[in-house]
Symmetry: C2
Subunit: 331 residues, 2 copies
């Protein structure tokens, strides 16, 4: 595990530098500060690392994908800032969220600025002699992911309080909300590394599948971790009545009293820890925790298979380790 974290750190140094350089001209100062705040707060930097490693895995030079990698991290940051406003989340990366440090108007603008800068950065790869065709394809990949992120977030919001959501609808939502940008990260990296069509498709599939596994694991950790590892109470998603794969599955599999009781707990705005534990027992009874774990595992295995045909390299080994990391992590 520590290997993976070390590698992410190693790759992230150049990404952070690129982000800082590109945000330095933003004026006025408060807008610049709000733009750089979450990058300074730290983060896993999983997406930009995936871009750089995917570039290397197809035989490219990681410098060719650096601006694209940084841009993808900015898109991720933009979506976190706007999501925190929409969901009224006060904390992010252990710090007050952007709209709490400044205010909502400046947080909306900081998101918009990061979005604009991300596109500007990919376009400016041209100046470093990137192939114009690669730049255009990377841009199309990122723009497509941005539309999907918005659609995924809108679906997620529309699911709130709707306990009739089907597994297919839920899966489509998490693919768009989380999978699409991770898939864009690996695909754009491959494109900037000069990959052929087969390699580009494979790295998109790899990213899509680890993205889905990543989101399932997030939901899974919420119910199987202890509070110390998680940094928040166990089952907080249940207490909030949030739709997760385990909720969707347990509601689909249960009926009668159990079904009604689970709905009651999810709808209760004043849910006790006992009720949360009761819901987790129901998840277990209907096999939804195992189901979620197995689906995450299947996606990780699928991701590894998708890139199996690539020639062996350090980068390929790292992609395999990262796929395992997604479901091995405990926070």
């Amino acid at each position: 595990m520590s290997d993976v974290t070390d590698v992410l750190k190693e790759y992230s140094a150049d990404v952070i530098k690129t982000i800082e350089e590109n945000l330095a001209p933003v004026q006025p100062q408060n807008l610049q500060d709000a733009c750089i705040y979450l990058t300074k707060a730290g983060g896993k930097m999983l997406r930009p690392a995936l871009t750089l490693i995917s570039c290397e895995a197809v035989g490219g030079n990681k410098e060719d994908a650096l601006k694209t990698a940084a841009a993808i991290e900015l898109i991720h940051t933009f979506s976190l800032i706007h999501d925190d406003i929409m969901d009224d989340d006060d904390m992010r990366r252990g710090m007050p969220s952007v709209h709490k440090v400044w205010d909502e108007p400046l947080a909306i603008l900081a998101g918009d600025t990061l979005f604009s800068k991300a596109f500007e950065m990919i376009i400016s790869s041209k100046e470093e002699n990137a192939h114009p065709e690669h730049v255009a394809n990377a841009l199309a990949t990122v723009a497509d992911a941005c539309v999907k992120i918005c659609e995924g977030q809108a679906s997620d919001m529309s699911f709130e309080g709707d306990f009739d959501v089907k597994e297919a609808e839920y899966s489509e939502m998490i693919y768009k909300k989380t999978g699409a940008l991770i898939a864009a990260a690996t695909k754009a990296g491959a494109i900037m590394g000069g990959a052929d069509e087969k390699e580009v498709t494979a790295l998109y599939e790899y990213g899509r599948m680890i993205g889905i596994a990543f989101q399932i694991q997030d939901d899974y950790l919420d119910v199987i971790s202890d509070e110390k590892d998680l940094g928040k109470p166990v089952g907080s998603d249940i207490a909030k009545g949030k739709m997760t794969l385990m909720v969707v599955k347990a509601l689909a599999e249960s009926d009668g009293e159990d079904h009604e009781r689970l709905l009651e707990i999810l709808k209760d705005n004043d849910c006790s820890q006992d009720m949360v534990n009761e819901a987790i027992d129901l998840f277990n009874k209907y096999g939804s925790i195992d189901y979620a774990y197995n689906l995450a595992l299947e996606n990780v295995n699928g991701a590894k298979e998708a890139i199996a045909f690539l020639p062996d390299s350090d980068a390929k080994s790292m992609l395999i380790a990262l796929a395992d990391f997604v479901i091995a992590r405990s926070s």
Copy 2:
């Protein structure tokens, strides 16, 4: 005048069709509805028309600039939706604003979606055999304008309640907030029309100057119109204590009692129509209304001069008519 309005209508038909086609796949439905709402509400469609006419003025075929024109209108719409949230404006184009019809979260997302779609549309011009270099340059132009729009809005918000703003700071703000996208509209149109460097620069300058004139005229109309033409009370900017060129100039030129009285009126949250009229008298006394009018006129003349070297064409005549229209309009 009616000629200009007719031409704008003529050009806007294809733009609206392109926007509708490109937004049709957006899901879920409420997100799509929020995205298309302001386009359906109608608007002057000045920016996309400028893109198409600029393309023609350099000898291009307007079809080559159609997706870019539609994209620029989407960027404009995105900024209106987010600005209305930030400024808490309830009405837009005579209808309730997007965050009032739906809610703030969905309005934030609709803006983000339009932004994403705008870039996607310019990139997809490639599929219609647009020159890859033109597409890349148009994208860079639009991304640069987006950063400036955010910076301009942040400056505008930071000016609120700050009556020490200098004319140079104010001018920079309106260039970024309004001029930059109009300049991007004309520049991107020229690029898609295959313009040489001199023509691209000229059309950027033309757009920048009519953009500034446009904003000054908006502020000017607020004090010289009658309520019937304006559709809102005369001097509503003064009542709100909004920074305009006339305020900046009158504060810079006045001192003593007049200066203090003007500040008092601007800071008054409960400003009567008599006080508004008193402020307008002070604007007149210190020549700030004439100053604003003359500066708008200078910019319009500068814009026309910038494109004077272009060969005569219907498109060139229309650009000249549009420049005059900017300060001749009464609403």
